[in-house]
Subunit: 373 residues, 4 copies
């Protein structure tokens, strides 16, 4: 129910960058490496269209997803909030899903589309998305508990939306209600948004860890991805899902098993079990050789992810050139000169990822065994 807020920045005086006539560069496609045993799926499971309070026809959401190279999306129209109903009566709540599930562009690029809906209630129930449902109409229930029960009956994966939203929690602190605790106990609530649109709540991460909920990141888009994210230099928030294969059923299995990392640009949040291997796979050692006539080892590190990563040296050895705190921008390479004091044939490279979190204040320390050429 968060409203679209359009920032008309080009109208406000001087545009900072005045490129020739009028340049415009689109979103780069997102890319994250697979990890041992799993394929990494890029998913956005919280989106709206004209079929609830969004501003675009459902097909636009598919085209947007393809531009950012997503693997899985879900349209999650509000079940109880239908501001366009005067024009779009919307008797069948499966409609927006139906309109895109067989869309040619999606098929061609292998974009998976999961059927979903947003159960939209005031506190203490709050908003929750049920994904992998079979019939949205059945989720329209008088009593919230019945909606969740129905979602479970459909074997849906259900997660709590924007738990820290100030309109529902003026302190911005998510508090798990008795209703929600009951849902968790009954196996009717399985995940929690740690990142929703541009907001990250580290207390939501704490709740995820405490209550064994799956960590989620979503765009909650109502307007245009380009206007809300791309043109400000951002990507939409996504959930990386570590699935046994690229399929709807595998994605679902992985979500229930909690195999996710939430990503918003350079912020990655998730359980250490998945975040650490993801980051270690993201950085590839492409070279390791001593500078001639020195005991200085030159290592080349390539960031194969779409996130700029900030590292801090955790080794006993220091660097010849770089600051101990350094960034490897998405898709780029960084040369590191390590002063190993003597010629070695392998090095245990150890770096802390400062912008990534496995718990509210815990950043993962990564390790790579570097073989000297």
């Amino acid at each position: 129910m968060k409203k679209i807020t359009v920032f008309l920045f080009t109208l406000c005086g001087l545009a900072l960058i005045n490129a020739q006539t009028h340049t415009h560069i689109s979103a780069q496609p997102l890319s994250y490496p697979n990890i041992e045993g799993y394929v990494t799926l890029k998913a956005d499971l919280h989106q709206h269209t004209v079929f609830s309070d969004g501003n675009v026809w459902p097909t636009i959401r598919v085209l947007e997803a393809l531009r950012e190279n997503l693997d899985l999306i879900s349209l999650t129209e509000h079940l109880e909030y239908q501001p366009h109903s005067a024009d779009i009566p919307h008797p069948d709540r499966n409609r927006s899903y139906e309109l895109i599930k067989a869309m040619e562009e999606a098929q061609e690029h292998g974009l998976l589309i999961a059927h979903g809906s947003e159960i939209t209630r005031s506190e203490p129930v709050g908003h929750s998305n049920a994904i992998f449902i079979t019939d949205a109409n059945q989720l329209i229930q008088d009593k919230p508990a019945d909606a969740f029960a129905q979602a479970k009956k459909q074997n849906a994966f259900t997660f709590w939306n924007h738990p820290a939203w100030h309109a529902q929690s003026p302190q911005g602190i998510p508090i798990l209600s008795d209703f929600q605790k009951e849902r968790i106990k009954k196996g009717e609530l399985h995940g929690i948004e740690v990142i929703n649109s541009v907001d990250y709540a580290q207390e939501a991460l704490a709740l995820a860890l405490e209550h064994n909920l799956t960590v989620m990141g979503t765009s909650d888009i109502h307007g245009l991805i380009d206007w809300d994210y791309t043109e400000k230099g951002n990507h939409r928030p996504i959930t990386l899902i570590f699935a046994k294969e690229k399929s709807l059923s595998s994605a679902k299995e992985a979500l229930f098993a909690g195999r996710t990392v939430a990503v918003y640009n350079d912020l990655l949040v998730g359980r250490e079990t998945y975040l650490k291997p993801l980051l270690e796979a993201s950085i590839e050692v492409t070279k390791a050789a001593y500078m001639p006539d020195t005991q200085v080892l030159e290592i080349e590190l390539q960031n194969n992810s779409s996130s700029d990563l900030i590292f801090e040296n955790q080794m006993e050895y220091t660097f010849y050139d770089s600051s101990p705190v350094f960034e490897i921008a998405a898709g780029t390479t960084k040369k590191l000169l390590v002063k190993t004091l003597e010629i070695k044939d392998k090095l245990n490279l150890k770096l802390k990822a400062l912008g990534c979190f496995t718990a509210p204040k815990a950043q993962p320390v990564l390790e790579w065994e570097v073989k000297v050429e």
Copy 2:
């Protein structure tokens, strides 16, 4: 009825420009100077939304228009083509207009909204937009002639859409049908699109001049302006209207009087009476002084329009530095060194605007009396 074709260029291999994380620069707001006696209104009078075969809610069209700094828009839903009717029954064809006419963002920025509709028939009737209508429902008629008659009854300004469209004219040559000749004679057809979306037909300009039709340029947008135009480095096509003041009634009066220029980026097309003064107003002489100890006059020309303009020297005098054919990019300044052979106190600067057309092969020659400082 032209379909949206989305070019997923970021997916196709390597993006040419790989800006840091993912840059994105929005459309620059459009700007064209007023001419003697008239204010210059930037208008796009051919647009679609979900209420016919477009893909966005009407409010998006207002936000797009504000980003490009337009003064006047019209939503022109197809009367006879309603592919979304299963979801949007659309009993009142004034609906998309109603949804935005009082929109706060439009009011705030003074964006004018004209009520319009597209009469959508096959050849020889073709497609035509009626703008400044009072009730779209009345335009739904069995016989095309009745639709035009009704538009006239509502005092609408009516123009022929994409006259060269290959789906209706496989040679791409617009041919005025007897039906249309009849409409012109009866005062029911007043304008013709010379530029529709990315297409310019110089034969349409010839027809405009021959039959005294108003020259029009429109986007005919169905998807997103950003995807179809901005991100390819283009602005949408517009019609510049030379109105006595910024109001709906003045814009209408100007359209009936034929006071327009059609613009698509650097292509400007219109009657010489309006195109010449527009271009002369677009170029401001901001400096004129002799280089010390020479007979070389330094002139500074500033392009106050949003079109890159290409000029060719038409004077007897030659330049000291520049090629006789040169561009002044939108919003920039060009220094010109003119070899006047002797010191003069004024110069009749004479340039042909190579990318602008007052007739199929006629480019206007512009003149400025430059006073030496």
Copy 3:
């Protein structure tokens, strides 16, 4: 004592644009196609270093040339003007040439280095460069005529520098002196700069044609190429030499034979015999097929040169989409839709190159026989 290490990254394939706080993008390497029977050499034969009134050590000129992908350069120190002589006594005027002729970076990239000098006298002698000399010291003569005679004795190619320079000609009009006419007659003056630094004089082109002089374009650089050209979005002016092969002797033969085109960014000036085939080779037809169900032929044109080229349609057929005046930017592709009225199996594509000159007011008309697929 740390050595300068120049990373010629613009030469190595695709340059990444790395926009951040303080971006800086280097010159793109220049590229022009060969023409029938000749290889096209990119040459800058007018440059200065600390050995006359320039501001860099000679090696910098080689590195600059490699960054712009030149094939041939010459350092042309003023013989008579030595403002640094207090610090650089410069007894041997071959010195700056000697310092770079065997430079490893030049060898590696095949950069040819011709030995040259500038004969620097006041009017009516003016400044002239003698290239392919064997001993600069012999050109230091009391009488200008003796300097030219000596250059001829060394079989040098000699050309008149900046003939329109306002410091020597306050009207900016080049006037051939009796002294120079005498030199031409004696076979001691063979070329003329039509473009010198940022200046183009069409009267110099007229003189070239009238007196059968070779058309030259040079940077006359004293400071840094980056500061004078690159950072303003320009390339340095060059002379394209159409040589039988890439060698000093072939370049010299071609210069004496007048096989050149002077280039400054998008301005190309030269004899029709060479400019026309150069432009025709610069534009490659990469596709030609009819749009389905139409008589509209889609042609794809690729500009393989480093100059943005502006064209005007010269055919009887008109375009479906484009303005009759259009640009194909350097290294890009333009789709052209030609309305051929009936299906044809070949088309004689005919375009005038508006920014290119074969005589003061003459622009070449180019032709390509396009075979329909």
Copy 4:
């Protein structure tokens, strides 16, 4: 003989980014705020020209400094290494200083020029710069100790260059020799380069702290600043000097007093006494107000320095939107939403600057008292 005209356009207000085929954007001028009691001078005190082993005439160094908006430079030609002596006999070693000390461009922009020289010996003496000397010739001595003694006699400020340079120390670890210890004891060695060209040695910082040496950062430029730094997206390394006023004598007093911070792009290294107030002055709180109906405080932070700064939250309060680790890019503004749990009228904002070092592994924690509006 046409003179070099350098257009210092990046100094004149807003630079327009002119992206086209071959773009090139110059270095942004550097800017760092003053701190309580001192003006902050941006200095580069280690540079070479053709008068030792550099590749440009001295005037280029002044123009480069103006482009980056430096306040103080010194040309430090090698006394003992003169590879250009065959061409530049260089009998008076004050020559490169003399050539620029009165240069008009320097005067106009208030650029201070200190007289300096590099004492260039092999290990264990190493290389050292003596700045604020009065006669470089006197520093040419057979015995290194005499050179240092002479520098002291001239009241020079002397510092150890690139102490970790692998050519002199193959492990890359700086080791203070007995000779150098003696110099420190005698008051003949006062500073140490912690950053030299692209290299940072944290062991050099440790030595600076242990032996009470002034922390220095220098470019050690031999070629072009643009090629070595700017076009790779970097600024040259500099020393920020906290002087009582902008003058040579104040800069000298500050250097002897150890009031410096070494800067290379986003790496700032210095004593906590100066680095902490510099960073606190660099971040300006431009707004602080509660979001309506919440206990979430919106703070706007503006980075007035030319370094991108990475911060980590050190408060008990968490953020509503941002990651606890975030960057504020140079010259930009960051909105921070702090969840203060209750409405407060002031907040002690506390952030650690992750990329800045006051000792090898110590990053400063900064504090700002934020008054709520």
